[in-house]
Symmetry: C2
Subunit: 245 residues, 2 copies
C-alpha cells in the first residue's frame, strides 16, 4: 500500500518568477501532491503573482514552507532527488523520470520520505545544489533543447508520480465503454431495411455490384457498432431521404 502521508515534497530552489511558483502549485494540485517548499525565492514570500497563477491551488501556495537552504528544508527527508537536464561528472545515481517516480512510490510504501529539487528558471540546479541530492533525475527530452519551463517540469514529475502511485486501475477512472451497441437484431433489421430501400430506388446496377456493395455496407455498420439511438436516427435519415419530394 502506498502511504500518502509520505508523498514527496516539491522543493523549488531559488525560483525567480511568482507565476512559475503558482503554475508549479497548480500542477501539484492536478496530481494530488500537496507539500511545496521554497528555498530563497528571488522576489520574497508571500508573492501575489504565485497566488493568482495557482488557479485553484491557492491552498498549496498558502501552506508552502520557506527555508534558507536545502539542508534546512530537508531535515526530515531521507531521499533527495535532483531534476536536472545537465550531465554531471560526479558519480551520482541517475534515473529517468518514470523510474524515479516509481522509486519514490516504493519509498512511500516503506515509510521513506522523499523530496525533489527543482532549480531556478534561468540556469537550473547548480553543482552546489545538486550535491545535496543522492539521485539525479533526467527527463527524456530532445538532447539539444532540454530546457524546460519550471512549472512544466514540476507537472511532468507530478504526473509520473501520480501514475506510479495510483496504479493502473486508478489511472483510468474515466475509461469505460460508453457505447452500448444495439442488439444485433436491430442492426440487421436496419441493414435489411437499407437494402430494401436501395433496391426500391434502383441503386444496384448488377447482381455482382449488389453483393459487393451490401458486403461493404454490412462490414461498415458492424464495425461502427451503432447504439439503439443511433439506429433510430439512421432509420429516420433513410425514411427522409427515400420519401417523395
Amino acid at each position: 500500500m502506498v502511504d500518502f502521508s509520505f508523498s514527496p515534497h516539491i522543493i523549488l530552489v531559488k525560483p525567480q518568477l511568482g507565476e512559475n511558483i503558482g503554475m508549479a502549485a497548480r500542477a501539484m494540485g492536478n496530481c494530488g501532491v500537496s507539500s511545496l517548499i521554497l528555498v530563497e525565492p528571488r522576489d520574497g514570500w508571500p508573492n501575489p503573482a504565485a497566488l493568482s497563477a495557482a488557479a485553484g491551488a491557492e491552498k498549496i501556495i498558502q501552506n508552502a514552507s520557506l527555508w534558507k537552504d536545502i539542508p534546512q528544508a530537508t531535515k526530515k527527508v531521507k531521499r533527495i532527488y535532483a531534476m536536472t537536464a545537465r550531465r554531471r561528472s560526479r558519480a551520482l545515481l541517475e534515473k529517468n523520470l518514470a523510474e524515479a517516480a516509481q522509486e519514490i512510490v516504493e519509498n512511500q510504501k516503506r515509510g521513506i520520505l522523499s523530496a525533489v529539487l527543482f532549480g531556478p528558471e534561468r540556469s537550473g540546479l547548480d553543482n552546489e545544489m545538486v550535491s545535496c541530492a543522492d539521485t539525479l533525475v533526467h527527463i527524456p527530452l530532445e538532447p539539444d533543447f532540454s530546457s524546460v519551463n519550471l512549472g512544466q517540469s514540476v507537472m511532468l514529475f507530478c504526473y509520473e508520480w501520480r501514475k506510479a502511485s495510483h496504479g493502473r486501475s486508478a489511472e483510468n477512472p474515466a475509461i469505460e465503454i460508453k457505447n452500448i451497441p444495439a442488439d444485433k437484431e436491430e442492426l440487421f433489421n436496419f441493414i435489411n431495411r437499407l437494402e430494401k430501400n436501395l433496391e426500391e430506388c434502383r441503386f444496384f446496377k448488377t447482381p455482382e455490384m449488389r453483393q459487393e456493395t451490401l458486403r461493404n455496407l454490412r462490414a461498415f455498420f458492424q464495425r461502427a457498432q451503432p447504439n439503439a439511438q443511433e439506429l433510430k436516427t439512421l432509420h429516420g435519415v433513410i425514411t427522409r431521404l427515400s420519401s417523395p419530394r
Copy 2:
C-alpha cells in the same frame, strides 16, 4: 519504424494568451514535435507574447499555421484526438494519455497522420469542437482538480508521445553507470587499513564488538562502491584524523 514525417499536429483551438501559445511551442520543442496549428487565436496572429514565451522554440511559432476552423485545419489528417478533462455523454472512443500517444505512434508506423485538439484556457474544448474528433483523450489527474494549464497539457501529451515514439532504449540516453567502482583489492586494502587504525586508537572495546563493527563497516563500503578517487580521499581522511594533533 516510426515515420516522423507523420508526427502529430498540435492544434490549439481559440487559445487566449500568447504566453500559453509560446509555452506550448516550447514544450513541443522539448519533445521533438514541430507542427503547431492555431485556430482563431483570440489576440490575433502573429503574437509577440507567444514568440517571447517560446524561449528557444521560436521556429515552431514562426512556422505555425493559422486556420479559421477545425475542419479547415485538419483536411489532410486521418485521426483527430481531443484533449478534454470533462466527461462526455456521446459515444466516442476514449483513451488515457499514454494509450493515445501509443496509438498515434502506431498510426505513424502505418502512414496515418494524427492531430490533437487543445481547447481554450478558460473552458477547454466545447461540444462543437469535440464533435470534430474521433477519440477523446483523458489525462489521469485528480478528479476534483483536473483543470490543467494549456502549455502543461501540451507538454504532457508531447512527453508521452516522445516516450512512445522513441522507445525504451532511446528514452534513456543519459542513463549510464558513471561510477566505476575501485578494484576490490583497493577496497579491501582500505578496509584493512581502517581496521588497523581503529585498532591503534583502541576503538574496539570487546572482541564481539570488534567483529560486529567490522562487519557493519564492510557492508557499508561494499554497498557504497567507492571509486578509486573516493578511496584516495577516504585514505586521506583517515590519515588526517589519526595523525597527532
